[in-house]
Symmetry: C2
Subunit: 251 residues, 2 copies
DNA sequence: ACCCCTAGGATGTCTAGAGATCACGAAGGA
DNA sequence: TCCTTCGTGATCTCTAGACATCCTAGGGGT
């Protein structure tokens, strides 16, 4: 709790007033907030100062500016995404999804997909146990929920393992990539997920339509087959405002 | 991959040049970057534009401005934090930590701790299966690594379960809270962790000494005993730049 | 050798403008 | 009725300054 007697920049005072108004329910999700011109007049500040105040709300993920339209209160309705382990315990072909049940009623589709064979980058190659530049099957996808892109995923598989199989096609068939790997005798039995969070790069912000101030969650999943070899690396970039990750464990 | 022919704001061009220089190794972690005055001269732009360019690097967590000193490349040396399940599979008293081995050599301590009995807030009470306002044992801690605060944790336990036991003291003894719960016959056998990420509130930024542009990771862990009751809720706030979360699963 | 203290330089805050770009609704034409 | 065009207003980019605040290095005194 910051002492209220402290000297505070103008833009912070304005930002706090706006935040209080949002929290009090004066403005609801989707409502338009007072814009730059309104704040200039109301508080008697310059344009850049009003912008700075609105920037605070944007950087905290409370508001979202739409160029030419105004600044609006953001809605927060995250996807619940379950850890891979529950899915793995069932059969690959069971048709169950990694997403929780409430997603089923929403419109989640893949709107961009590319599958190609490329040289594996340094870090990926090291994990997969191949040489940097060795051929890898690279599958990049973008997932869109209710018209909003929420997930970028890039999967790497050693080309030596999957060349000539259906995995190198866009549609990998029922059970997905893991189902096909199982048929090849390289079904994953162990997974590791590494989770990071940071601010998006300009490219990520563009592809996920992120507004200023929303972080991304990075998940790097490595799948291991029974003999301990890494058979897949899947790098995922998630809009943090759109996701809650769920992990369940039994001790 | 953005087309290079596109018209781009000056501050983005400058920011990209700086980022490229950092990635090429021209500037290393801790090095001082060209400041506002340097950029004004080099690129012939106004002060606010140079600031905006540097702001991009700060908001992406690449650089950190120190008032009166300059803008510096941030070092990213995250803690690797293992999921609770590996720890749970061992004995609570085994002395093994939730942190990976590389943390052992660093200086991780609790520098703030408070234990009290309070009324449980709405959301916590619902999870714990008690009435809102019913007494709960609340343990708040701040963890400091190498002098930098990295983790805020608040643990809630039903007071009816733990009143009069060592759990209500600051030092819960070997094996920690879960060890004591096991002695009470309420040892946790199942866990759920929910992970979110967002920008910090002003209070979180202060307590974790966060600089502009670093998100926080929120982990809400619920521990369940054998009879399916929730026996603990642990809310954690992590400096995203200081952590990588690791989850391992067997299918 | 050590300490204090000051001057310079750095970022932070703020002003008052200007043109560019984009969204949206209103007016007008087919 | 539908579509196109256009103007208004909104955010975005950028300029050229000014003062405030803070860090740091170096000089001078002890």
């Amino acid at each position: 709790m910051p002492a209220s007697g402290e000297k505070q920049p103008k833009y912070q005072r304005i930002a706090e007033a706006l935040k209080a108004a949002v929290e009090s329910g004066q403005y609801r999700a989707g409502d338009r907030l007072p814009g730059e011109n309104d704040l200039m007049e109301t508080y008697g500040v310059a344009r850049m100062t009003a912008r700075q105040a609105l920037g605070v709300l944007q950087s905290e993920g409370i508001a979202e500016a739409r160029k030419g339209a105004g600044v609006f209160v953001r809605s927060f309705r995250p996807l619940r995404r379950r850890g891979i382990q529950r899915l793995a315990q069932e059969h690959w072909g069971s048709g169950r999804s990694i997403w929780s049940a409430d997603v089923e009623s929403r419109d989640l589709v893949v709107d961009q997909i590319s599958v190609s064979e490329e040289g594996a980058p340094e870090g990926i190659a090291r994990v997969l146990g191949i040489e940097p530049g060795d051929p890898a099957c690279v599958r990049s996808r973008r997932f869109v929920l209710d018209g909003k892109p929420v997930l970028l995923a890039t999967s790497y598989l050693p080309a030596a393992l999957v060349a000539g199989t259906r995995i190198t096609e866009q549609d990998t068939g029922p059970g997905g990539t893991y189902g096909r790997l199982a048929e090849l005798g390289a079904g994953p039995v162990r997974f590791r997920e590494e989770i990071r969070s940071r601010m998006p790069t300009a490219d990520e912000a563009t592809r996920l339509h992120l507004t200023t101030g929303t972080p991304v969650i990075l998940i790097c999943r490595t799948a291991f087959s029974e003999d301990g070899r890494a058979v897949e690396v899947n790098e995922m970039t998630l809009d943090a405002a759109s996701y809650v990750l769920e992990y369940d464990f039994d001790a």
